[in-house]
C-alpha cells in the first residue's frame, strides 16, 4: 500500500505474514470472516473486522481478493 494509506492501517504480523486492516474503509460485510477457513478474522463490537489469530493465516489470500472495500491486505 502506498505510504499514506499504509500509516492508517492496523497491522498484525508474524514471521510468515503481515495482515493490514484499513479500518476506516471496512464496511463490515463479513465476507472476509466467512471465507477464511482458518478462522483468523472476526468482527469487533463496532462492526469492523479484526484479526483474532494471525498465527493461523496460511496466506491463501481469499480475504484479500474478495474484500470489496480494499480494507484488508495480506503480505
Amino acid at each position: 500500500m502506498n505510504s499514506l494509506v499504509h500509516q492508517r492501517c492496523r497491522v498484525y504480523t508474524t514471521e510468515k505474514v503481515t495482515i493490514r486492516i484499513l479500518e476506516e474503509w471496512c464496511k463490515g460485510c463479513e465476507i472476509c470472516v466467512d471465507v477464511c477457513k482458518k478462522h483468523c478474522l472476526a468482527m469487533d463490537i463496532l462492526g469492523k473486522v479484526k484479526v483474532v489469530n494471525v498465527e493461523a493465516c496460511n496466506k491463501c489470500l481469499l480475504c484479500d481478493v474478495l474484500c470489496p472495500d480494499f480494507a484488508i491486505a495480506i503480505e
Partner: protein, 254 residues
Amino acid sequence: MFDYHEYFRSEMMPHMWCKGCGNGIVLKALLRAIHRLGLSKDRIAMVSGIGCSSRLTGYVDCNTLHTTHGRPLAFATGLKLARPELTVIVITGDGDGLAIGGNHLIHTARRNIDLTCLLFNNQIYGMTGGQLAPTTPEALFSTTTPYGNIEPNFDACRLVQAAGGTFVARGTVYRAIPLEKLIAEGIQHKGFSFIEVLTTCPEIHGRRNKLGTPAEMLQALAKTTLPTGVIHQASGPEYTEAYDGIIAKAQGRT
C-alpha cells in the same frame, strides 16, 4: 506486492458501493489484470454508462469518461476510432448494457471493434431504484414486479456471440482469480471482447429477495448453471483497421 492504491484517485476513495457489493471485487480483478499486462495508466481509457457499476470510472486514475445511460459503447467507439492506440475498456451493467443500451451492444459486437466490455450482471437496476432488469430471474421480486417477475431473462453471452463478438467470456466474483485472467485475455484479444461478470447486489436485490448475507450470495454464484470461462473466440477483420483501409483508399493511397 501489488498495491491497488497506486491505481486510485485517492480523493475519490473509499468507494460508494454498499456493504458487501460485488462491484468492488470486479474492480480489484480489473486492476490486477491491468497490472499483470503491464499497461500504463495513461494508455488506458475507461468508459462507463450510468448505474452502480458505472461509478467505477470515477475511482481509477486512468483516462475516464462517465457517459449517459446505456451509451458507453457508442462513446467508446468514437474514442477508439479517434485514438486507436489506446486500450479502451467499457464498464457497463446489465440494465445499462442489455436494456437501455442493448442496441449499441449488438452493433458494437457486429462491427468487431477492438474494445473490451465488462458487463456487471447483478440481476437488477440497483442505483436507479431496484427496477426489473432483463437479467432478473423469473419469479424474483423487484420494485416494478412486486408480485414476481414473469419475463424470461437474457443470456448476454449468447446474444453477443450471435451478433458477431469475437471474444465472449463469463466469470463470477466468487472466482476472482480466474476472472482476472479472463479480463486480461479479453484486453489482449484484438476485436470486440465481451466479458459478462456475474456479481452480487446484496442491498437492493438481495434484501428484497432474501438471498442471504453478502458472503452467501457470493458462494451461490459458484453454483451457477450458466457456462463460465471463455465461451467463444474467433478472428475477423477489426473495425479501426478496416476504417484505416477506407481512409487510405479515399486518399488514393491504395
